[in-house]
Amino acid sequence: MLDLKNIAFHAENESGTVQIIRDISLHIDAQKFVVITGPNGGGKSTLAKLIAGIEPLTEGSVIFDGEDITGLSMTDRAKRGIGFAFQQPVRFKGLTVLDLLRIAAGKTITVSEACEYLSEVGLCAKDYIHREVNASLSGGELKRIEIATILARDVKLAIFDEPEAGIDLWSFQNLIRIFEKMRESSSGRSILVISHQERILNIADEIIVLAEGKILKQGPKDTILPEIIGTQYTADVCRKLT
C-alpha cells in the first residue's frame, strides 16, 4: 500500500538548515489502522504532509500502490486515492458544506448522499448541508465537516492530522466511533492517524512513535502501547480535553 524509502525533510530558518524528518523508512499494509504518536515538534504532522504531497521531500521516495509518487503533486496524489484531513480545517466564504462534499466526491452527488456523510460524523444534515463553511461554524463543526470530506472521497489511504484537536468530549466519542466504523468497512482502505489520544491508540493495529524526526518505536499496538502508556507520548482523553 504505502512505502516510504529513506525520506528526509529539511527546512531553512535563521540558524541554518533544520532536519525535521531524518531518514525514515516505513511500510504500511492495506487495510491497516496505523497511529503515529510522539512528542510535539517530533515531525509527525510533517511526515503526514510529505505523504500527501503538501510539503516536498528533501530526500527519499514515496511508493503508493506500487507506483513511485515522489514527483507527483498533491492533486495527483489525491486522485490516486490519498486523503488528508487537516488539523485546523480551512474556512471558505461562500462555499457551502454541500459544495465542499461535492468537490470531495469529485462528482455531483445528491443532497441525500451528502447528508449521509454528515450524519456519519454526527451532524444533523438538514441544518448544515446549505450552510457556508465560514466563520459561523464552530471548531468542532468544522472538524466534523473536514472528516466528512474524507468519507465522501472514498480514499485508499486516509490521513488524519490530530483529529481530536479542538473538539469537545462529546465529539471525541463520536470521532472514535467514526474511526471504528471506517476500520470495519472492508474496502481495503488504510487509515493513518496522527494522535496523542490513548483511545485512538487503543484501536490501532500498529503504532509508530516518532521523535526528533526519527522512528523511535514501531510495532503492533499490543506491544507498543504498554511501553508508552503514561509517558509523554500519550494523553489520557479527559486530561487532554478538560
Partner: protein
C-alpha cells in the same frame, strides 16, 4: 419578436430568459423596443420626452414580475435610457433588469441606464440587475448604470446587482433615501478582469426612524483590472446601517475600498467593514488535497465567493 442568436444569448445571461417572459416586460435591443407587454396591474408606457419607459405598478399588486432587459449587439451604439418605476403601496413584486453588450467591432458600445424607483408604503420589491459583456472586438463595452431608490414608510427593497464578466468600463451609482421603517438590502457581486475598470458608488440616506440598510459587496479583481468601491451610509434618524466590502485581489489587480459612515442623529447605529486580500494559500491546498488542480481550486473559491 425579432432577435438574433447573439441577442438571445445576451438575454439569457442578463435575465435568465430563454424566451418571452411571463408577466409584464419590455425588451430593448440595439436602441429600440422589440417587445412589450403590460398586464392588468403593471402598465409600461414609453416616455413622451426622451428615451425610456415608465412602469406603473398598481397598489396591492402581489406576486407579479416585470422584466426589462436590454441587449446591445451593434458596435458603436451609445444610449442613455431613463426608466422610472412607480410602485404602489402594499405591492410585492419582482423586477428583473440588466444589460448585455456584445461588441465584435472596433467602436465602443455604451448603455447608460438610469433607473428610478418610487416605492410606495409597505411595498416589497425584489430587484435583480445583471450586467454582462461579450464579443472579441477592440471596441469597449461600457455600462454606467444609475439607480435611485426613494422608499416610503415601511417599504422593503432587496437589490441583487451582479457584474461578473466582460464589461470593460463601468461606473455604477446607487442612491437611496429611506423613510421610517423602510428597509434596504443590497447584495453586489463584481468581478473584473483584463484591463477593466469598475467603480461602484453607494450613497444611502436613512432619514426615518426605524429605517435600516445592509449594503454588502463582494468583488474579485483579476489580471490588471481596477475597482473602486465607495459605500456611504448616512444616518439622520434612529436607524441602523451596515456596509461591507469584501474583496479578493489576484494577479496585478487593484482595489480601492472607501466605506464611509455619517451619523447626524445620536440614535443612528452605523457599522462598516472592509477587507481586501488574496485567496488564502491554505484554501487552495485544501481543495488540491481533494483532487483539484491549483487553477480549478481558485475557480471554485471565486465561484463560491461570488455566489
Amino acid at each position: 419578436m425579432n432577435m438574433d442568436a447573439i441577442q438571445k444569448q445576451l438575454l439569457q445571461e442578463v435575465a435568465d430568459l430563454h424566451d418571452i417572459p411571463e408577466g409584464a416586460y419590455n425588451l430593448r435591443a440595439n436602441g429600440e423596443s422589440v417587445g412589450r407587454q403590460s398586464t392588468a396591474n403593471i402598465e409600461i408606457v414609453s416616455k413622451t420626452e426622451g428615451s425610456g419607459i415608465d412602469i406603473h405598478i398598481k397598489p396591492g399588486t402581489k406576486k407579479e414580475s416585470v422584466h426589462i432587459p436590454v441587449v446591445l449587439s451593434e458596435s458603436g451604439l451609445k444610449e442613455t435610457v431613463y426608466n422610472d418605476f412607480f410602485v404602489g403601496d402594499d405591492c410585492d413584486v419582482l423586477i428583473v433588469a440588466g444589460c448585455g453588450i456584445d461588441n465584435c467591432g472596433t467602436q465602443d458600445s455604451e448603455h447608460d441606464g438610469i433607473h428610478r424607483f418610487y416605492v410606495g408604503k409597505n411595498a416589497k420589491i425584489r430587484y435583480v440587475e445583471k450586467h454582462y459583456g461579450s464579443g472579441s472586438g477592440d471596441g469597449k463595452r461600457i455600462l454606467n448604470p444609475v439607480t435611485e431608490v426613494y422608499m416610503e414608510e415601511g417599504s422593503t427593497m432587496e437589490m441583487e446587482m451582479v457584474q461578473i464578466k466582460g464589461v470593460d468600463s463601468t461606473e455604477r451609482t446607487t442612491i437611496a433615501k429611506l423613510a421610517a421603517d423602510a428597509k434596504l438590502v443590497v447584495r453586489e457581486r463584481l468581478m473584473t478582469h483584463g484591463e477593466q475598470r469598475a467603480s461602484s458608488i453607494y450613497k444611502v440616506e436613512l432619514t426615518g426612524d426605524g429605517s435600516s440598510a445592509d449594503v454588502v459587496s463582494r468583488s474579485v479583481a483579476r489580471d490588471r483590472s481596477y475597482q473602486k468601491l465607495d459605500m456611504c451610509i448616512i444616518g439622520n434618524a434612529a436607524c441602523s446601517g451596515h456596509t461591507e466590502c469584501d474583496s479578493i485581489i489576484m494577479d496585478e489587480g487593484r482595489i480601492l475600498a472607501v466605506p464611509s459612515l455619517e451619523a447626524n442623529s445620536v440614535d443612528a447605529a452605523l457599522v462598516h467593514e472592509a477587507a481586501i486580500g488574496k485567496i488564502a494559500g491554505d484554501q487552495i491546498i485544501k481543495l488540491m488535497t481533494l483532487g483539484l488542480t491549483e487553477a480549478e481550486a481558485e475557480e471554485q473559491i471565486i465561484n463560491g465567493f461570488l455566489k
